[in-house]
């Protein structure tokens, strides 16, 4: 079985279940509590604290209320399904504007959109009915006498759809689906607690477009639509006036706020659970039979995997490479050799995938920014020409691809086509740097391990790889430094995408410098005697003098 499948089956699904349980608990106590307080205080006009407390406790433990949790549970399962199928560990950077549109119209994204919107409508309706039981659920048919049922439903559906679309746009098109481990990992309860602050709710409201302005606009639009529907459906003027009640506006605002909070909390909690660090066994047993799941579940294999598993594996590597006394046992295992045989399997199992990742990343950058430094392809055969360099043979037919390119080039002259077909500024570099997080952690881990080998590597297994590691670091640093400054786009809507890769670019620069400083500080002038290139040696010299910034 593939490592990713084991990871999905054994870890991701279980974490998703626990996250869902947490959100449902939040749902039960907070949302139901808020709605009960609203119903008691605003709708029923009771301000006796004892009655409020009694209503609250009844709403939390009454079997009928517990049963009603099936609606949010279904909605959350729908949302979880979308999140599990669409999460990413690096930002998606489109090369062209049309790629954003293409992504929008893909079946997967459209399915996700519809599932999220459906869940949002159901949740909005659920909150409305909790706050005011006279409000009908969207899936309950209206009675013939209740003229206001349709318009009210319409309002709730509009609000749910609006929030759902805002959330989906952010999630699918603005990199809202990225899962990133936090810089420190306290208890999950602490992380959840800090994600529940009013500041976070406010941020979520702004992120999902539920600002006071847009909310007011939506509510008034809904009321306007309801009035039109009511009048066109034969409703009388008093009916219309009845629609324009304050209660409708308040309930709609309350349900929208609860919906946005739920989406924000769900997203945060799922991120907290999914990005929780994992500890992957390091040791490879000599007598183990290859092929079993347990044997493949080793750090050396997971480092070569992809996606979230690779990211968590590099986080684990970074943790165990640090000088923390708690990871001392695993830390010392790295510098051991196999018995019998005397092979440094653990070190090589870590070093090879990490160094490969660093080198591949350097190559990607080089291929895009300094193609002249790449090995040249053999020159093509000289075409048959006469003394005046005129072609003497008939030119081969132009392939379809070239024709298309020409057409595209000619279309680019028109503004409307150039908007869709022109390459976005610095898109290739941005897409490369968006995937830099595991590289940063690989650099940190290798730097720490090389520094630790100064005192801990009794068998000298790390020593012979230090020049390669330093050369890889220096080459990567050269490439990162050579990439020009990021061009700033004018459109505010792309700022989120921009920040992610820019910060990773900066982080990579800083992590490379820190790691090289740690190595040069630990080894001192000895690093200059290692078999490295002249360019690398001069760089190391400047690091020794603390002249690199």
């Amino acid at each position: 079985m593939k490592l990713e499948e084991i990871f999905l089956r054994e870890i991701i699904l279980w974490r998703c279940m626990r996250a869902l349980g947490c959100v449902l608990l939040f749902q039960h106590f907070v949302s139901m509590g808020v709605c009960t307080i609203y119903r008691t205080v605003v709708a029923e006009g009771v301000i006796n604290p004892l009655t409020i407390l009694a209503n609250l406790s009844t709403s939390w433990v009454m079997p009928s209320k517990l049963l009603s949790l099936t609606i949010p549970a279904i909605c959350l399962i729908l949302l979880a399904r979308v999140h599990i199928n669409n999460y990413a560990v690096s930002a998606w950077i489109p090369m062209y504007q049309w790629q954003s549109w293409r992504r929008f119209f893909t079946f997967k994204v459209q399915l996700g959109f519809s599932m999220i919107i459906g869940a949002c409508v159901l949740l909005a309706s659920f909150y409305t009915s909790l706050a005011l039981p006279t409000f009908p659920q969207v899936f309950v048919r209206c009675s013939a006498e209740d003229v206001l049922c349709g318009p009210r439903k319409m309002s709730v559906i509009c609000v749910g759809m609006f929030t759902g679309i805002s959330y989906s746009m952010k999630y699918f098109l603005n990199n809202g689906n990225i899962i990133t481990p936090a810089p420190a990992h306290p208890r999950k309860l602490q992380l959840i607690k800090s994600s529940l602050s009013m500041q976070k709710v406010k941020e979520a409201c702004n992120t999902y477009g539920v600002s006071s302005f847009s909310l007011t606009c939506t509510v008034f639009l809904c009321i306007f639509a309801s009035v039109v529907m009511c009048l066109s459906g034969g409703g009388s003027f008093p009916d219309v006036m009845h629609i324009l009640e304050l209660q409708l506006v308040m309930v709609v605002i309350l349900s929208t706020l609860l919906l946005v909070t739920t989406l924000s909390v769900f997203s945060n909690i799922l991120n907290i659970f999914l990005s929780e660090p994992i500890e992957i066994p390091l040791t490879v047993d000599e007598d183990s039979t290859s092929g079993t799941e347990e044997d493949s579940w080793r750090l050396c294999h997971t480092l070569s995997s992809s996606g979230l598993l690779q990211l968590l594996a590099f986080w684990d590597l970074k943790t165990l490479a640090s000088a923390d006394p708690r990871s001392l046992h695993r830390h010392t295992q790295i510098f051991t050799i196999s018995q019998p045989g005397g092979h440094p399997r653990n070190w090589l199992g870590i070093m090879n995938p990490s160094l490969n990742l660093v080198r591949k990343f350097t190559d990607r950058l080089r291929r895009h920014n300094c193609p002249e430094e790449l090995p040249q392809e053999p020159p093509k055969l000289v075409e048959a020409t006469d003394v005046n360099k005129n072609e003497v043979t008939k030119p081969p037919p132009v392939p379809l691809k070239e024709r298309l390119t020409k057409i595209v080039m000619s279309l680019k002259r028109y503004p409307i086509f150039s908007y869709f077909l022109s390459e976005l500024p610095d898109a290739t570099n941005r897409s490369i740097f968006a995937e830099a997080l595991p590289v940063i952690w690989a650099v940190e881990a290798l730097g720490d391990l090389v520094a630790a080998s100064f005192t801990e590597d009794k068998f000298g297994i790390v020593q012979r790889n230090i020049p390669d590691i330093l050369m890889a670091f220096v080459h990567l640093q050269k490439m990162v430094d050579s990439v020009g400054r990021v061009s700033v786009t004018r459109r505010a809507s792309t700022s989120d995408n921009c920040q992610s890769d820019q910060q990773l670019r900066k982080a990579l620069k800083l992590s490379l410098r820190t790691s090289i400083y740690i190595v040069t500080t630990t080894f001192g002038p000895t690093v200059l005697e290692m078999p490295v290139s002249g360019e690398c040696r001069s760089k190391l010299q400047s690091y020794l003098e603390f002249k690199e910034a």
Binding site: P183, P186, E444, L510, T514, P525, F546
Partner: protein, 527 residues
């Protein structure tokens, strides 16, 4: 338990403490002391911390360079749209106001926009009446020191790896002094107000974190082409809405993570400064965090609160152990191996220590031990003058080898110096009193971090002067050499105090019982 009475007498009036040679503090006249310190440290390596009268650049004006390139051919609606794209709704509304006089429709839009702005400013005024963390005064009262430092240096911080010193000036600027560098960069930023703490990033050339009212500013300076006045683009601002004003910050020993705290909350925030991502690792009761110190082995974080508690977190799962104290902790230092913590409280003139066991969890001892009695006494100088010293402690500082401990008192002209060693257990021995020029009170102290032998104590005096006190001693700790090789820059930038012909002190072996056994008391209790 050692007391201040065990320390040898302070120097005669008019002399200042110049250096320490093998356990004995020597005092000379002011000018001679300076010459001797320069001779010991080497002319090129001695950093003369002097603040000139250069005019400091004023805070950045709100006028931006792009206004010079504004495209005036755009229609008013286009300008409004661009303002919305670039800066959001608020800028668009402001832009709309500017459209007055360009047509009747624009006039109506401008009137509506000005009404909106007036409404929002009214709401903002109401908002300012509500309690806000920003209005709460930082517990670390810089103003008090400012008044005393007479408009000059407030505090100093040594770079952990190089011969570079940062000095906080009263006017919210920071000056950077590097040995052998003629340029002394002045760091000033419009957000850099009410500086509370500064810290150099380890394993970096010149990255300085400045904690101030608005949040944390990270200055990235160029070590090769040191500009006298680095622009604001050299600074990265880390906004800390929950913890501003910042009261304390501390770097992870590796340098990739910064912990900061402050404001009215008890939140402890960890920043991945590279990615500019933060996480609240603890929030709960205890009042404002006044001090956070990361242990040198990175396994623990000490946090002191404005209330009578202190906590030590283990930095893996961020679990903590809590101790109750009689009064808030004002200063704390870790030993170089991170297994001992020394601290002092606001009211008790006693130095306490906590020991930590290696392994899972925090592993701290249940009860803190008293190791030194710092009660105020009157000491007689060599001339027989009575000088009052001791009492409430302002700051303690331990040298990177954990062999010299300096204690700064409130309202005392003298600094106390103890000789310490931590292996196999903590022992304190009397070092002496450090005295500055007449009338000068020590404000704050800092040990140079990158020395391969001995120590250098930098003292900021109330006159605004900074003196460096070289201490030459042979390490008593057998593990000190390995420590130097591991953590403190042995090869590249370490400075060695040159050998001199001063006589070796015999005081240490003759006069006083060198070791005091720590006493334990029931003042502290673990939960």
């Amino acid at each position: 338990m050692i007391t201040l009475e065990h320390l040898p007498s302070p120097p005669v009036f008019g002399q200042v403490t110049a250096f320490e040679n093998d356990g004995r503090l020597q005092a000379l006249l002011g000018s001679e002391a300076l010459i001797t310190a320069k001779k010991w440290l080497g002319e090129g390596m001695y950093i003369e911390v002097e603040v000139g009268q250069e005019p400091v650049r004023t805070a950045h004006s709100k006028q931006e360079a792009r206004e010079a390139f504004y495209a005036h051919t755009e229609t008013p609606w286009q300008r409004v749209m661009f303002a919305y794209y670039e800066e959001g709704w608020e800028a668009a509304v402001h832009e709309m106001i500017k459209c007055r006089g360009e047509g009747s429709l624009h006039d109506v839009a401008s009137t509506v926009a000005s009404l909106i702005i007036k409404m929002s400013s009214l709401i903002a005024k109401v908002h300012t009446l509500l309690p806000s963390p920003k209005k709460i005064k930082a517990p670390y009262d810089v103003a008090q020191d400012r008044g005393r430092c007479d408009g000059s240096i407030v505090s100093v911080a040594w770079h952990p790896n190089t011969n570079t010193l940062a000095a906080v000036i009263c006017d919210d600027t920071v000056r950077v002094f590097t040995a052998g560098q003629p340029n002394k960069p002045i760091l000033k930023h419009r957000l850099q107000k009410s500086i509370t703490s500064i810290a150099w990033m380890p394993f970096s050339a010149l990255v300085l974190a400045v904690g101030c009212e608005a949040g944390v500013l990270l200055w990235h300076l160029d070590p090769v082409n040191a500009m006298l006045r680095p622009s604001g683009s050299c600074a990265t601002f880390l906004p800390c809405p929950g913890t501003s004003p910042i009261t304390t910050l501390s770097w992870h020993p590796r340098g990739n993570v910064l912990v900061c705290a402050g404001g009215s909350s008890s939140q402890v925030v960890v920043w991945d400064v590279w990615r500019e991502v933060s996480v609240v690792v603890h929030s709960g009761s205890g009042g404002t965090v006044t001090l956070a110190v990361w242990s040198p082995d990175s396994s623990r974080l000490f946090v002191a609160y404005s209330s009578k508690i202190m906590r030590v977190f283990e930095t893996h799962g961020w679990n903590y152990e809590q101790w109750s104290v009689d009064s808030p902790v004002v200063s704390a230092v870790w030993s170089r191996r991170g297994h001992l913590l020394l601290f002092v409280t606001q009211e008790d003139p006693v130095l306490y220590h906590l020991a930590f066991l290696p392994g899972e969890g925090v592993g701290g001892t249940q009860v803190a031990a008293q190791v030194a009695d710092l009660t105020q006494i009157a000491v007689a100088s060599l001339e027989g003058d009575q000088i009052s010293v001791g009492g409430a402690v302002k700051q303690i500082a331990w040298d990177p080898r954990s062999e010299r401990l300096a204690v700064v008192f409130h309202n005392s002209q003298l600094l106390a110096l103890f000789h310490t060693h931590t292996h196999p257990s903590l022992h304190l021995a009397p070092g002496g009193f450090i005295c500055g020029e007449p009338g000068c009170v020590p404000v704050t102290v800092s040990f140079q971090q990158n020395l391969s032998s001995g120590a250098v104590l930098s003292v900021v005096w109330s006159s605004g002067k900074v003196t460096h006190l070289p201490m030459r001693y042979s390490s008593r700790d057998p593990l000190a050499a390995s420590f130097i090789h591991n953590t403190s820059l042995p090869h590249a930038h370490s400075t060695t105090l040159p050998n001199t012909s001063f006589t070796v002190n015999s005081f240490f072996t003759n006069n006083v019982s060198p070791i005091s056994s720590p006493l334990t008391g029931r003042l502290f209790s673990s939960p």
